[in-house]
Amino acid sequence: MPILSRPLELHANPIMSRDKMSTQSIKEQISGDYYTCRFEEGRSEDTLILNMGPQHPSTHGVLRIILELDGEYIVRAEPVLGYLHRMHEAMAENRTYLQYLPNMGRVDYLHALAWNWAYVGAVERLGGIEVPRRAEYIRVITCELNRLASHLLWWGAYLLDLGAFTPIMYAFDDRERILDMIQSVCGSRLTYSFFRPGGVAIDLTDDFLRAVGEFTHYMRGRLPMYKTLVTDNIILRKRCENVGELTLEMCRRYGATGPVLRGSGQPYDVRRAEPYGVYPALSFSIPSEAEGDAMARYRVRMDEMVQCLDILDQAIADIPGGPFLAKGAPKPRWKAPAGETYFAVEGARGKIGVHLFSDGSNTPYRCKLRAPGFSNLNCFAEMARGTLLSDAVSILGSLDLVIPEIDR
């Protein structure tokens, strides 16, 4: 307990700042921090104010949600962010374009290559750099493998939140194979800095392509087992169906993208809406479901895993020879032409955007990162109202949030 020379004045808390401040002990004065006090102001009778997080097994990181519970029903929910704010956007202003690239892998470490791509794409647009065709194919292959790994982890973690302890082990088994493959080419297992403005860092080998082909074959054999044992399980269906209804109108208001939006009926995918890379040459479908509940989002992601496998099979068959990095690729301490660009990619969680401002020097003037999780999370407060506590956990899991990306 800090030693105060005078009583605390919690001006945001009218309950506390009323009478008898000096006679109260210090312990009674500190009834909560700023957010809790503000939240308590709007409280109704006979409700329990509960803090879910920042330390909680199923908030997927350091997310804090202040809940007002009437028994088990959630009357009000308010997420409090910032526990994992690492000032990535501030770091962009103090690093050169190439020095900043590893930051992108740490923003959302589960789909690091998509963030790599968004940043590198923005730099390429800024500098007018052409990417060789082979490099584009390499980007697609590694990014889709990463997307598959991210969806597998989401699936395992979601079921862990719902109380099934076994699927995550199976999911990680599959993930290990992907990670081993990617490690042989990207150098690390989680936070990749593989892309470069103008291409990629190193070339793929034929062994890698063969391993990817074997993996897609193996994975296609695994997914039916997951469907029978988990997706069709009555308990899971009861936990996910009609839970967390998200209408299209709500999605538009909050700017939700990715499987969250596709689970509400809108088949919007950045790979088709604002095409980049070689996606126009690859044929894949955009899965979407109309119900807008947690089960719809679940099914969208399971279908997306199959689409990843399709894209991978096409890419490893069609990949051409050639250079993997453009001739005029930026060297370290490269100065970008002045201007601003925006580049968006489809990440596992939604639309990842990098808005890059350059003032002609070798560090960005400003780098704004648009994280899909931020918009998706804000739907939660409205979705969770009136549901049970268990449903809140189910909804959070179905949104596939990664808090580091939300807080940046």
């Binding site: 509960l50 097994p57 088990e72 719902l162 109380g163 099934a164 302890f165 936990r239 268990s390």
Partner: protein
Amino acid sequence: MTEFIFSPQLLHIALAALAVMAFVGANGLVLVYMERKLAGHFQRRPGPYEVGWHGILQPFVDAGKLIGKQLITPDGADPLLYWLAPVVAFVWVLALFIPIPFSPWLTAFPMDLGLVLILAFAGTGLLALCMAGWGSNNKWSLLGAARAVAQSVAYEIPLLLAILAVAFMCGTLNLSTIVEQQGRWPWQWNILTQPLAFAVYFICAVAETNRAPFDLPEAESELTAGFHTEYSGMAFGLFFLAEYANMIVVCAMATALFLGGWQGPFFSGVWWFLSKMYLLLIAMIWFRWTYPRVRFDQLLNINWKWLLPLSLVNLMGTALLTKLF
């Protein structure tokens, strides 16, 4: 009075108490190991492997670790309730072993009202959860305790009705008599004459012991360990042991009531009882590691809309058939 102190009755009571405690302790150790090994194999990993041959000394090491941990009283917790809860949880369960017939001569106290005793003591065991939830001064524990109360109270009713159907059929509440009335061969066991009662009983048993898929009171991912969030060291160990002891009791009851108890096709005895009990325990462990958790209102729905009507129908059908034949 002096006749009592040095009488055979007191010796009997003391021996029975010691035997029950030893049995629960030993089985607790075996169950801890079995659960972790089975969990591992279900999850495509070996489970405990380091300590002893294939990890067989793991439960001893776990017990040593739990005993050696610091016992913490949370700030603002009610010390009496907080520290009494794990003790009550564990000791209460021991009383449930009194009428269970492990073998014709290996019964603590064969009594005519054995079933009533078990049901009564099982109901009161809930008190420990309430004390833990309230005494921890933690909203998450409170939620866990509230869920545990509603769940246990709700699921006792179909449990009672299922057992009642068997008691009706056998005409007695004495567990030893019920076991003796069944035969040596599987087709002579009560499970064939009362399959619905067995199904209802087993589901209620899983719910009463707070095991997945009905483990909401201690739901790790929702309530950060529910009513035993604030407990550390041996206090948590006692809750842990109490849960396993509860599991043993319900499986032992199921064995006695439905699976013929200690009777077997050859060499009837306590080993048959233990094997059947462990088969049911393995089934319970299998459930836990396979299914996700049921939501709380769905849990109560299952009880009130499915188990209760089914057990009532079963009871009335049994009563009718018993009266007619």
